[in-house]
Point group: D2
């Protein structure tokens, strides 16, 4: 069975495993108050060019999203998110469970455009409605598309008008930044654009781990309290510092993401050559080809992937995901098989 | 610096690390729907002698406690817990953040006795008060003491009278079961006593991981929904299955706990011999000697531990914790130093 | 200034005021545990033909909705509601503040049709999504339309397929039942169709007060606990019993609603005669004429009403609401003015 | 049957009923955005000498407490309250249902002293614990005692040290201010002492209604959003303005409270003369005599009151409450009967 099901189907990159082994018997204090974490935090601050940001390590995107939003918003404040957003559909109402409404906003290829914010906000006129306060976006999006730097700047400007926060879910931030179609967006741009964002590890070669970056000084205070309250603090928090330090030391994080993107590109081009189309043009490690449903059934014998949705009577959309662990041979096998 | 600060100050037992390495590149499905987890679940069900129980793997005691209680209780139902309980003081109000009151109950050496339940319940007479519905206890307790089988049976009987659940926090369950003073309580007894309990890994040689066992059929339904909603589900959930399978295959879990207990016993006896007393008699891996505050300050130069509380003008209580990684030499050093 | 702004712009019907005066100095116990409430509850049970239902008196639709839903659902269970639903837009996220997601469902003239339930549910396939469990509808709807008995029966059947509850917001139930276009739906039908519903008083001549009817036995237990917890219990709860008893004794409730409907009908027909159209055909006490925006501005000098939304460049939709207190002269003045 | 059961056993003072009647058919806008409310707000601001405070009208103490605390605190912030506090025992966990822990603090006769705050706060040292942020007190307390101005000033000073808010539950504020043992505390002192407090009407001759006063500018923003979200806003909000305006126009509020206190004083002195003692010395409208249990049983045939708690084998504590509606004859009857 060949896996194109997800980017979290194996363990970690072997340099991560090796580093865990090397550091295994060192004693440290708990809850990320250790030198491994401090060093990783310094490294990240340097890479993003924002020494005054706060970095918090957590495990899992849902955990990060719910903890950040619970800490950032007052009870009547709401989140705007594209209908395809992870918090809208795939987190079992985690944000609502913290008491906040998530307003589903129309989107374009998984991305929110400034005018869509205006249209939503205009309906929220007084205290009978929730107060839109935070825009949630993902980079790359849940359907593999990416925001350009220019698009993010336009969003930022629009949000400033409405006195709103920008929060970026970076579960697949590596894939977005290393996409061959990303012109000029870099890690260093994010602190100037976002109030907070997270750098995802779980889907890019970590055993687990995401780094939340809080840029807006007004959102920093007492964050560790909410983190602990929501179950987001790890006794052996050092494991997160160890992994982030290794991943960001010599660009490993970006190399792994680049590899995943390249494997997806091979898949995309191979499938295109065979004459098939895609649900959306996605230049990262998730692609959504439209294939005859009969072919999909046949492929499922050798390949493990996700049926995304029916397309028409005879065709279905599937999702193929590549990762740091995807090998060229598996890509070739898939293309041969179709 | 010698660490008696906690039982989570190093990584994992090396057989865990080795097993993670061996299984690292196997592809599996996510969210604990993989063979590693299935096997570990079967193994645990066999060990506890309860094939019909449900097993869920999570990371961190706070996460398990808050998820279980959120899933088990209706909004007006409350938790009873000893004042020393982890959920009462050390989880930043995690249970209250799910909407439930935690009623602090007087205790005896960290343990709840049946009559203390009655005294609390009698004050809750109608709908102006919350409805006491779940008793939270820890085994071993936060101050290292243990419940005997007989004590647990008496609690169970009392709770049956009041139609209440028994939930056991087993962050240090290994230490309790392998304590030299545990006469006859075994893993197999727990399904008959508890509605739910968890087997803690993080504090007994895992990298991380706890296994929640839901025994009461009325509490099983849809648990994975709440688990995901609270951020408790792990994309690479297999890591939990892998660790539990290794730990419970040939009794490793118990051997590690036994070692920790033994190291604590050496400490206890050594300190006693030097003429010092203890806050409480604790037959597990946490001990609470009462030492002259001046001595405590001196010890802090070479040893890393927690000052628990002042005892009197000249003496302080400290907490010493041992783990699978504690070595006899460090114990000897400590005893020499006092 | 003539009011068509809302159906809660004056105090109460004078028989209500008189009854409050008559009963004013009688001593009773608090929290609706008094004979006034008991009698009103018995009266309502008789009128709905469901002696085994539970009746709870509260104040305000938002209070009833949030208390009922908080009491009925487990944390991962979600509400389906038409996008126009009061809980979707006009309750400041009250339902989400109790932790539950509200899924906005497409609607037809403010009403949900069975196939729209299917389409929403099909997207909720596993524990990564919330579990749709309760359908919220309003009768009459927020835009004045009504469900026929046949439509409600079809909804009921569809919900049974999905093991879901039907909850009916009856803020304007009187208007729906006495609408000239209501063929055959009666109060007695509701217990057979709904798991719970409420009979609204505030918008039909009460000072305040709504009666929640819980039909489904599985939803009754401990309801007063949640009611108190959410601030929904009134110390002088008798005031609710007194009003409901008076309103339902000789059909006053229905007479007042009928009057409001009739006034709206006069308005509707008068406006139609003048050649104007409506946003939706609404046979109850709320109508939504489409008028030239310039005319709207002129009307605002003498009439107090709500601008609903722009219609096109030159026309606007306004909302006119009538009540038990609307007099024919005011209706005539309005028609003359346009 | 003679009622000493509560201060909410009848309707309202007849001037309130009369005023409701007079204003009944005036049309106003909803949700307390009407002239009745504006005038009452102005009147209250003048009486408390704080024109810049915000006044919000709600119904019921639980509603006010939970709404205020939900609006004022961030998720990890906790409430300190005396164990006898209404929010600790008699509101079915309403505060916890908004996500906040209520820390039960030891008290002296229902009152918190500054040193008790220190002792509680010292245990809350870092992010593993909730952050104590708001002190809840009642004036008069649940057991009828009152804080002197000096005591409140000492509390204020202590709370300033800890950067904490003072919130005063004034369900029986009238009784406290008009107590014959209140030396110098006036309504005008409260804005200087409290961050927020409420003036209770339900227990002092209103049909219902409490006025929350928010003094601290940092707590004012967007309060009406939370108020609506928690079901605390009333469509016919004018009813609150009408009552408050009438009650505060010529000191009626204070006269009614004074009457209740005087009736309690007669009871207290009469009971004392008969040789009985009290649980606590309470100079307001609640008294707690200790009577032989056999006598209590006999009294229950003619009088309706609350058994507070057993005192010893042969004696019980009962609670007697007087109100604006208590008449001297009933007091005399009670004293005769013992």
């Amino acid at each position: 069975m060949i896996y194109f099901r997800s980017d979290y189907s194996v363990g970690a990159h072997d340099r991560i495993i090796k580093r865990l082994q090397e550091t295994n018997m060192a004693h440290t204090d708990g809850y990320s108050l250790d030198d491994f974490c401090y060093e990783a935090q310094d490294l990240i601050k340097e890479l993003i060019g924002s020494p005054e940001s706060d970095i918090h390590f957590m495990v899992g995107g849902t955990q990060v999203n719910l903890t950040a939003i619970a800490a950032f918003l007052r009870p009547h404040e709401a989140v705007l998110a594209p209908k395809t957003g992870h918090i809208c559909v795939h987190e079992t109402g985690a944000i609502e469970a913290t008491g906040h409404k998530v307003i589903h906003v129309p989107h374009t290829d998984g991305k929110i455009l400034p005018h869509e914010i205006d249209e939503t906000i205009i309906e929220h006129e007084d205290e009978h409605m929730v107060l839109p306060k935070l825009l949630y976006i993902s980079q790359s999006t849940e359907i593999g598309t990416i925001y350009s730097k220019k698009e993010l700047m336009a969003l930022r400007e629009k949000l400033n008008e409405h006195n709103m926060y920008l929060y970026m879910d970076g579960a697949r931030l590596g894939a977005a930044l290393t996409s061959s179609e990303n012109k000029d967006l870099t890690l260093q741009d994010l602190p100037g654009l976002c109030d907070a964002f997270y750098i995802g590890g779980t889907k890019n070669g970590f055993l687990f781990g995401e780094a939340l970056v809080i840029v807006n000084p007004g959102l920093k205070e007492d964050f560790r309290f909410t983190m602990h309250q929501r179950g987001g603090m790890r006794a052996k928090g050092r494991l997160l510092g160890i992994q982030f330090e290794k991943m960001f030391t010599d660009g490993l994080y970006f190399k792994l993401a680049e590899h995943a993107n390249e494997m997806a590109k091979f898949l995309r081009e191979g499938i295109k050559e065979k004459g098939y189309d895609f649900l959306v043009h996605s230049p990262t490690n998730q692609i959504f080809p439209i294939l005859p449903t009969s072919l999909v059934s046949k492929l499922e014998k050798d390949f493990f992937f996700y049926r995304w949705c029916p397309f028409d009577k005879e065709r279905s959309v599937i999702r193929l995901v590549t990762s740091f662990a995807t090998v060229k041979e598996d890509v070739d096998s898939f293309i041969e098989a179709i």
